[in-house]
């Protein structure tokens, strides 16, 4: 039966949220212009409206989650993003897999931020909340799903499947509800995908706060006062966006198989650019607080970061990227609406800024080379140039679309070697940044002239050169550009560490945010240099290259074919593929697939043997077991070093009918490197192509060869009982026992021969791993001979790529230190703001 309540509730809440957002904006406007006498009334009224909006927004989210959680596949959203087999934490990922869910997440965060702003501000509440409410109105309109004539506003997540899809079944039975949904994109079935999108959207949402304070400041002629309340939020925004980026990178590293953590994909760039601009904005805002310069620059940067987030959303979600991104978002027809949203706020921001421009205080004095303002300004400029260098090529599809909309032809395509193209600029910009942070921090905390600068910098310089020399020698860094990177990285670490120690000795930890974040930057730089610059593919095909005498000989084959049980040399290791595994509920680690038999029902199986891990028995033979996502196979690869088993890795792969092979890597983590392995091709076990019959006539204890494997016919015995088959009186069952030796693995295969009522029955044995089917075809008692019919096919195999990533942990550690630095800075700046507010000055 179709449940329409959840959908109707959600749809109603959407409309309520939209209307209440518009009314809130109006009401807060009345509040800002009202006389002192009327202000409290308008304020309370506006707040109540915003609370209504908040409740409506939360109701939207709850309705949608209820639809997914209760498997209401009569709804298009649940049908296309979820399935019965999904565990609850992945249902959360289903929620924001679709664009509508992502917008709801964004709306939700704005509500949370709006409530915080209301309750932490006094004089800023009115104008700031006008901007908030307007943004909410635009965002909610994305999921309105209202059609007026030819105009479609928003795409509702609450439409029923029968309204979304015109399948013939609905003409026959309008109440048809599919049994199961089509499932969640397997790439998103990862714990990082449960927490990465909320973080990123909180980052997106939080860019609104400094922007809203800025708009409020410009509109209410407080041209510079907005900085104080906005600054902690700007740092918060940069911290959360940074965290979202890192989580995304880490997710890519552990789930995707492009072989790294950063690919300069348009979707990644689209977040990286606003982050850079926000970081630049923080720096100019801090400069302004110290010395009343760079206010105009701060205004431009804060506007840019907010607009760039909208532009990023437009790029990713409008379908304009088309083929150029691995992140596939289809066009829901929202691109026009997104564009209006972007242009509206751009126009408002430009209008208010231009109107206020001549009143904005500037400092006439030329910044001296020995002033911190000068160095921070250079730093902010470098960050902006980095952003410019990334956003320009990322926008090539937009450029093509613009040219084509004017009737022109543009055949520009993004650079083919994205990583190389972006790295050659970003690396050097980052080196400049590292050097600037080192010098800039000294200027920040001390008054400097030429001589004192030299004196203070000499020691850190010498120490960092020594450290760099050590890293270069130990890490065998002989490339000149990389040597420069190491020098710059260690210089910024040493210089900032010096400042950090001085600060800790003299005053509180509260001031340490900047130097911590910069130390993180230095470590990230060194970590990236090692893990990317010295990343080495070790799965070169070393096994008997067939020289073709063509250009192919010059190309390295980066993948290696591993037949089951066959030792294959991979650089310093001998790798052996050992077969498939599954994840079983309640059992630690992985379980061999060959001891599990598929049972009826999704994710159900029967154990064919006891499941024992570390001496503890989890399941007995014949027991029912529950598999975690049965379509996922883990391919066990044993790595040997000097004939000793060093470790095993189990990269995951699943064949997905709509997306092809989904492959997730598995890495061996060392302190100083990762060995990263993923499967690029798997063998399809269904419908094998069997070779023609081979017939063997053998006696017990005879040895023969089945596809090059030594096979011994051990014995044949009459048996009284058979697994899974009932024997009657008068039946004769013979079980033959064959042992097959495949490299170091010995397998026992037991085909069965039955005579019942003078009829012969044969139960062949199929071994997927070895690719053989054996049947006991006949028994010749006079000669004591047994006739076996054997068909063979290819053995199971995987094709694998293995990459060594040195020093990747320095990168992760650097990102964590940088985030801690941000947090310290947020605390400090919020503390400053709240003290001023409580004095009644804000």
């Amino acid at each position: 039966m179709i449940n329409t309540f959840a959908g109707n509730l959600g749809h109603f809440a959407t409309i309520l949220a939209f209307v209440s957002a518009v009314v809130t904006a109006f009401s807060y406007y009345k509040y800002t212009v009202a006389s002192e006498l009327e202000k409290p009334n308008w304020r309370n009224f506006s707040r109540i409206l915003f609370y209504i909006h908040s409740i409506a927004s939360v109701t939207i989210a709850i309705s949608l989650f209820e639809i997914i959680y209760s498997h209401r596949f009569e709804y298009f959203y649940a049908y296309s993003h979820s399935s019965i087999a999904l565990p609850v934490h992945y249902m959360i990922s289903s929620f924001w897999e679709g664009q509508e869910g992502a917008f709801i997440l964004w709306i939700f965060w704005n509500v949370v931020l709006g409530l915080v702003v209301i309750h932490t501000n006094k004089s800023w509440e009115g104008p700031v909340m006008i901007v908030f409410a307007l943004v909410q109105a635009f965002l909610v309109s994305m999921i309105l799903g209202v059609v007026i004539g030819d105009l479609k506003i928003g795409s509702s997540p609450f439409i029923l499947l029968r309204d979304a899809i015109s399948a013939p079944i609905f003409q026959m039975n309008p109440d048809f509800v599919p049994e199961d949904g089509t499932g969640l994109n397997p790439l998103l079935q990862n714990i990082w995908m449960v927490i990465h999108p909320p973080t990123l959207f909180l980052g997106y949402a939080s860019t609104l706060v400094p922007f809203a304070f800025l708009m409020a400041g410009l509109a209410s002629k407080r041209y510079s006062e907005w900085i104080r309340p906005a600054l902690p939020w700007a740092i918060f925004s940069a911290m959360i966006l940074g965290m979202g980026i890192i989580m995304g990178a880490y997710w890519a590293y552990v789930t995707l198989n492009f072989g790294g953590y950063w690919n300069w994909d348009p979707v990644e760039n689209a977040v990286y650019v606003p982050w850079l601009i926000m970081v630049a904005g923080i720096h100019t805002m801090i400069t302004f607080k110290k010395s009343s310069t760079a206010l105009k620059t701060s205004i431009v940067l804060i506007i840019a970061s907010f607009i760039l987030v909208l532009y990023a959303t437009f790029l990713v979600r409008s379908g304009v990227l088309g083929d150029s991104s691995v992140h596939s978002f289809t066009d829901l027809g929202l691109s026009g609406q997104l564009l209006i949203y972007l242009l509206f706020f751009l126009a408002v921001a430009i209008f208010l800024s231009v109107r206020a421009w001549k009143y904005i205080p500037t400092s006439d004095k030329e910044a001296s080379v020995y002033s911190r303002e000068f160095w921070i300004f250079i730093g902010a400029t470098t960050l902006s140039l980095m952003a410019f260098q990334v956003i320009l090529p990322t926008s090539i599809p937009v450029w093509n679309a613009i040219v084509e909309s004017f009737g022109g032809i543009s055949n520009m395509a993004p650079p083919t070697d994205q990583v190389g193209f972006y790295t050659k600029f970003q690396l050097w910009f980052a080196v400049v940044l590292a050097l600037l942070t080192a010098v800039g921090q000294f200027f920040w905390w001390n008054k400097m002239d030429g001589k004192t600068l030299k004196d203070t910098l000499v020691m850190p310089y010498i120490i960092s050169v020594l450290i760099a020399a050590l890293i270069i020698v130990l890490g065998k860094v002989y490339n000149v550009s990389y040597i420069v990177v190491v020098l710059a990285g260690s210089f910024t670490i040493v210089a900032n560490a010096t400042i950090l120690f001085k600060l800790l000795k003299k005053s509180t930890f509260k001031l340490a945010g900047g130097s911590l974040a910069h130390i993180g930057l230095g470590m990230i730089l060194i970590g990236v240099m090692f893990s990317s610059g010295y990343s080495e593919t070790i799965s070169y095909n070393l096994s008997g290259l067939t020289y073709k005498n063509s250009f192919e000989d010059e190309i390295n084959k980066e993948h290696v074919l591993l037949w089951i049980n066959k030792p294959t040399q991979i650089k310093d290791y001998t790798a052996i593929y050992r077969g498939r595994q599954k994840k079983v509920v309640g059992v630690p680690g992985l379980v061999e697939s060959k001891i599990l038999k598929k049972a009826e029902g999704v994710n159900h199986a029967i154990a064919l043997k006891d499941i024992v891990v570390d001496g503890k028995t989890y399941h007995r033979e014949g027991e029912f077991v529950q598999i975690v996502l049965e379509e996922n196979n883990y391919y066990k690869i044993d790595y040997y070093q000097e004939d000793q088993l060093a470790f095993s890795l189990s990269p995951m792969a699943q064949y997905n009918t709509s997306m092809g092979l989904i492959s997730s890597p598995d890495s061996k983590r060392y302190l100083n490197k990762d060995l990263y392995t993923f499967v690029s091709v798997i063998n399809d076990l269904e419908d094998p192509e069997w070779n023609k019959d081979e017939v063997f006539e053998v006696s017990p204890n005879d040895t023969f060869f089945i596809s090059d494997m030594v096979t011994k016919f051990e014995s044949a015995d009459v048996v009284k009982e058979l697994d899974g088959m009932q024997l009657f009186d008068g039946d004769v069952a013979v079980k033959a026992k064959l042992t097959i030796q495949d490299y170091d693995v010995e397998k026992v295969l037991e085909p069965i021969f039955i005579i019942r009522n003078n009829q012969v029955g044969r139960v062949p044995i199929i071994d997927d791993e070895l690719g053989i089917k054996i049947e006991l075809t006949n028994i010749l008692p006079e000669e004591n001979k047994f006739v076996f019919t054997v068909n063979s096919t290819q053995k199971d195999y995987v094709i694998l790529k293995a990459i060594v990533k040195p020093q990747i942990n320095i990168l992760w550690a650097g990102t964590i230190i940088m985030l801690i630095g941000f947090c310290v800075a947020i605390y400090r700046r919020y503390d400053e703001f709240s003290k001023m507010r409580d004095k009644g000055l804000e």
Binding site: G145, A164, L385, N541, K557, L561, I799
Partner: protein, 138 residues
């Protein structure tokens, strides 16, 4: 000249370098014919070619030759102008390659006969292909 002006000029200079480098490194969409012309002229830049896999009368994909160790393969592609071309890809055959409706190869001519792809983008029929999304009216 004031320091601010020098700085401004420096920024503009770097911005120009960035733009020029982007235009220089940006790839283009070409056909096999124009790609070959570029090769003859000695331009080695990697380009994008859009097309389809060669299919037989019954719709079966033709001309895929997988190398012995399964880690690279050749295939026949027909670009949007109808030119047929043998392409080499130094990666294992992607899953679903046979089902792709459209392929984009990024690469360059390696010799007169063979186009070598550095990267292949595929467009596969989506699971909702045969269905049509309508909007819910109010």
């Amino acid at each position: 000249m004031k320091k601010g002006h020098i700085l401004g000029l420096g920024i503009i200079a770097i911005a120009i370098v960035i733009i020029v480098s982007m235009l220089g490194d940006a790839s283009t969409y070409e056909s096999f014919a124009t790609a070959k012309e570029m090769k003859v002229k000695g331009e080695d830049k990697a380009i994008h070619v859009v097309g389809q896999l060669k299919k037989g009368i019954s719709g079966e994909v033709e001309g895929i030759e997988v190398n012995e160790n399964k880690t690279s393969f050749y295939f026949m592609m027909i670009d949007n102008d109808g030119t047929e071309q043998k392409v080499f890809y130094n990666e294992p055959v992607p899953a679903d390659f046979h089902r792709s409706e459209q392929v984009v190869v990024i690469g360059a001519y390696k010799s007169e006969e063979i186009f070598m792809a550095d990267k292949i983008l595929m467009k596969c029929p989506s699971k909702y292909q045969e269905t049509e999304v309508n909007t819910a009216g109010m």
